[in-house]
Symmetry: C2
Subunit: 242 residues, 2 copies
């Protein structure tokens, strides 16, 4: 599995992902899941990928090749047009390798993507592209999207992420969310990739990579873990304990 | 869905469950998922249920009928014998109602159970009974079991639950775990049921039920929510924020 998330706040967009891939427990690897497509001053897009590794690698490779000389991500007039293209490409890659007939392998080739960014002076946005090629965007009530192993890290996003948050707070919340997921699920693992896109900059997002022992991420992990423990110890007692 | 969990600490056992059942979004109901079977001074067992409501209700009703005059839960020599029986009964109920042949309905009749308690002077224990009737127990490393919508509430259990915890701390941790789940998933809802079994008491466990506005549960929810927010605000800043 994988865990990727993106949050949309008034100040811009935050993208984060773990980097563990696995095809069975003895085939664990590290592969980036966060792919920027930037034409400075014109448009800045970031793609996050989860699901079958062959499918996501093919889709990303194709997009990167195309983007060297324009291509559909550069030509899309709107973000949802770009999401539509990613969905179509994903479908094409999946169907190319889906065996047919009886006795066909039942391995799922499905992949899910988050595409976010900003085109010119349009509003920044986020889209989640399903394996079927269709897509949704997020709302102001819940201005984040997740793909992969999403449940462990959702409660903290539900509590914290809102449009008025600073980009840095949104990025910290993403780190805490991925940390909780890594602790509960072996298939999500370091290093973590983080990209922070400042609204209207149309520049390459600020990119950070953290290992478990990277000083900043280690300090977040420790302070959060110790703080939770203290918070728990301070919870009100039952009647009969008093 | 449903969320039930049980924790085993040196001082005894804690059982907790939400009480929402649903068969589609317009068929939401409240039904207890925590069922005690106690012969005071001899044995105290608690069953938690998740899955198809018809299956779990049939299994529980049958166990309750049988237990009025002894029955397999009373006669089992060991906890795992009782777990084995619950698994067989669940299989029997499922197969009774599973349609056969082409065009048969694809509704899943599967159910999962946690059975815990103590028999005489044996060690207290917990078993998770799968829909297939087989079962596992938990380890000292991770002395809790969960069924139903388990992921949202797992990170806090992973961090807090350990054998040396007091029964009250384990119970508080269960409440926090269910609260996080309820906030992130509509299919898990109040009231919450909690049972606290004191090791070697062989008595009816202490039973508590909490609504959202029950003073104690409301104070836990508020203190935890406010505390998380404060904890988050105090996390170390990125370099460039200083």
């Amino acid at each position: 599995m994988t865990y990727c998330l993106a949050a949309s706040v008034n100040a811009g967009l935050v993208f984060a992902a773990d980097s563990r891939t696995n095809a069975g427990l003895d085939h664990i690897n590290t592969y980036p899941k966060l792919h920027p497509f930037v034409w400075e001053g014109e448009r800045a897009l970031v793609l996050l990928s989860a699901g079958n590794l062959a499918t996501t690698q093919s889709v990303v490779a194709e997009l990167q090749r195309e983007s060297q000389s324009g291509g559909p991500l550069y030509e899309a007039r709107y973000l949802d047009e770009a999401a539509e293209y990613v969905g179509r490409l994903s479908q094409r890659v999946q169907s190319r390798h889906t065996p047919e007939g009886p006795g066909a392998s039942s391995v799922s080739l499905e992949a899910t993507f988050i595409l976010g960014g900003q085109i010119g002076d349009q509003e920044p946005g986020l889209f989640l592209v399903y394996p079927q090629g269709n897509y949704i965007t997020c709302s102001d009530e819940q201005p984040f999207l997740q793909i992969g192993e999403t449940k462990y890290g959702k409660p903290i996003l539900d509590r914290i992420i809102e449009p008025s948050l600073s980009l840095e707070d949104a990025a910290r919340c993403a780190l805490v969310s991925i940390d909780s997921t890594m602790r509960s699920n072996l298939s999500v693992g370091p290093p973590l990739d983080l990209m922070i896109y400042q609204r209207d900059s149309l520049e390459f997002p600020r990119a950070l990579r953290y290992k478990l022992n990277s000083p900043y991420f280690a300090s977040i992990r420790k302070q959060w873990g110790d703080g939770l423990r203290r918070l728990f110890d301070e919870l009100p007692r039952f009647d009969w304990e008093k």
